[in-house]
Assembly symmetry: C2
Homo-oligomer: 432 residues x 2
């Protein structure tokens, strides 16, 4: 009855199927040449290629979605394994890798995709991304401590020997009001794309594949990126109206990426070398209270101007912070408890993070207030000496006046394995 | 201390302030010539103008955001008035109109905006849209029945004489599971934009202006449009993976727009002529159940193919539905209870709607299932003979097998006043 159930070749393009073959061919060529982001600009004579037509390469030494220039939208999910079978876990990771390989390239999941195969079987792909380009989609997975050992320290999946020393529960910070129902998890999926429909499609299809083996513990939409991870990107604003992530590690800063993001040989364990630790924190913002704070107060709390994002010590956005500069009356121009001071490497033994968080709005809270804030995401080589150190500096109302306006309600720590080659699967080093 | 607190002229552009003056000028010129959407394509010699740089005109006989080609993202809010003062209600509507006039043109709210004015006062604008273009923003307001009379039928604001006959509570349809906390409301704000940050900024600033006079009852983010309202737009897909809104009224279909969308002189009341009735329905989708349905079953339920969106009676997406065509075995190709049949004008005394709904994902429900679906939005001249008639046809599990996969959890009906000129304000006809 359906006009489009003819059997297509495998690696089924969502666009090609629907007649946009030309664009697909251009996109594949450009991506192969490593021009994934730059080609969007075009020149006077060249055709303008929408950057969303260009897939982000899936294979590599590291997973995509970490130093990849931050896409506009996020859908994040944490899952709990409902199986205790090692074989089923391996199969799940293999199937996820295969599906991610397809979806990130703008293809349907499975051999037949959304609209082909047997009309009497559920479609392999759920179909809501049909006709949409790759949209910069990256899918990044991580493993929680609870995948290796249960709450009593008992091994799961025979993986206790592979548990990284650094994959410890994060400490409870002053002011934390964490909800366990939306914290941690055995597995994490971070899907980032410029089209939220494409990010939703990715998580939905991985969750569907996991049926019977893992189920979603919580998930979170993010609508606006709050950090740049490339010097080519303009710095976006968080829901306090301030530019966020000016001093973030950028992919072009190769020394910092090596030093602060990737797990090295001597960090161990071996299966995680080339991977990274992912920290997530859902931070509710008390938007209405913040909006009643005078401009000068807001700027003093952050330590930057709201307009240009320049430091209160003077200059423009990317100028150095001068913590010794004096403002009116001889006080430091950047206050002793200003956010940028407390978070700065100079006051945290040099620690830096690669952040790629997103603004979220979950509607309203029944008191007429926005349920909104920042879904903080940071990648790092060592949580203890990076996120934990910086967050200890920030947490506590004595230290950071910003804490009057925010509350952390969810927390997660995941070890993200390295990238895969043409045949590998995520986390295969765990099962070698 | 802030470098950018110099006093700017009024009508403060978010881009101009930050140095993008040239683009602003181009955008204003093109929009004035009515080329709001078309200019984005560009020619070989002309500079390519991003369509998001072009503001949607605010003034006109009708409110923008109804027949305006549907933008990509939605933020919707319903508010309850906390004042009983007619003067305060008038002032609120005047202030909202002024702020919407500024924001839809890419300007900050207020005389001084986000980063100027007194450093000792809260900024007039919350600032998270600084540097962002107009992004196609439209702001559309509506009035609920409860603004005119309370639950006991007692007048509010002296407006009982202005209550439109057609602004009745919607009936409870078979299968409805409405939550009053996220239904109805005195006032509705629909903010649509191509950038969700711009839509969020718009609602947030209107809510802030309302402080002490109205507060948010509920709000809803929508990430992907599910209807086209212009023949220039590709038909998007809902979370069932099907194209949605193929047969929707398009702005180019002037006869239908006149006949089915705008309130006419003889419909009354006078203050509403040129306005429209807005129906909202939050429709939860049982995504996981749907995804287990075979392709043929999904297509039979909808009455179209999943790939091209062509009718099961044959042909491509925009071909006519042939309800008499026979399929295998002599049954109708488009089944007796297929969604497209039950919703079709031929079976609803010719009734049509102008829909501009959005997909939503509110995270997960604690059972591992997506909290996701469709935030249905439809505009019409007469709810009783349009939405109510069609929904009665669709509701009830006997009639529409789709109802096994969806449940309506919220409902709203609002009378949207006509547009305003250079000096008017929303709903001023109510207070003449």
């Amino acid at each position: 009855m359906s006009a489009d159930t003819t059997r297509p070749e495998s690696g089924l393009s969502r666009r090609k199927l629907l007649g946009a073959a030309g664009l697909g061919a251009i996109a594949a060529g450009a991506a192969g040449a490593g021009a994934g982001y730059a080609a969007a600009g075009g020149s006077d004579s060249a055709p303008v290629i929408d950057k969303d037509e260009l897939p982000t390469p899936f294979e590599g030494a590291h997973q995509a979605g970490i130093v990849t220039p931050a896409q506009d939208r996020l859908y994040f999910a944490a899952l709990d394994l409902t199986t205790e079978s090692r074989e089923e876990l391996v199969a799940l990771l293999q199937e996820w890798t295969a599906a991610a390989r397809q979806m990130t390239q703008g293809n349907d999941v499975g051999e037949f995709g959304a609209v082909a195969g047997s009309p009497f079987a559920p479609p392999e792909d759920t179909g809501e991304a049909l006709g949409l380009p790759p949209s910069g989609l990256t899918i990044t997975v991580g493993f929680g401590r609870s995948m290796f050992v249960d709450a009593k320290g008992k091994a799961r999946f025979g993986l206790d020997g592979q548990l990284p020393d650094r994959l410890k529960d994060l400490p409870l910070f002053i002011g934390d009001r964490l909800d366990p129902a939306v914290s941690n998890g055995d597995l994490a999926i971070q899907a980032c794309a410029n089209d939220p429909q494409v990010a939703v499609h990715a998580v939905r299809n991985l969750v569907r594949i996991a049926f019977g083996r893992a189920s979603v513990r919580y998930s979170q939409m993010g609508f606006g990126r709050t950090s740049s991870t490339s010097t080519a990107q303009a710095t976006p604003r968080n829901l306090f109206g301030f530019k966020d992530g000016t001093a973030n590690i950028k992919v072009e800063e190769r020394m910092d990426v090596e030093k602060f993001v990737w797990v090295h040989d001597d960090d161990g364990p071996e299966w995680l070398v080339g991977g990274s630790y992912l920290v997530t924190r859902k931070i509710d913002m008390r938007i209405e209270i913040w909006d009643r704070e005078p401009l000068e107060g807001q700027e003093a709390i952050i330590g930057r101007t709201k307009g240009s994002g320049g430091p209160l010590s003077g200059g423009d956005e990317f100028d150095e912070l001068d913590f010794k500069a004096e403002g009116d009356g001889g006080d430091p121009a950047i206050g002793e408890v200003a956010h940028v001071r407390l978070a700065h490497p100079d006051f945290n033994k040099g620690a830096k993070l690669l952040r790629r968080g997103y603004n979220f709005v979950d509607g309203s809270n029944g008191l007429g207030q926005l349920s909104a804030g920042l879904f903080f995401i940071a990648y790092q080589r060592d949580p203890e000496s990076q996120f934990v150190r910086i967050q200890k500096s920030l947490a506590g109302s004595k230290n950071d006046v910003l804490n009057e306006y925010i509350v952390h309600v969810s927390s997660g720590l995941f070890a993200c394995p390295p990238g895969v080659g043409a045949k590998g699967y995520w986390g295969e080093g765990l099962f070698a």
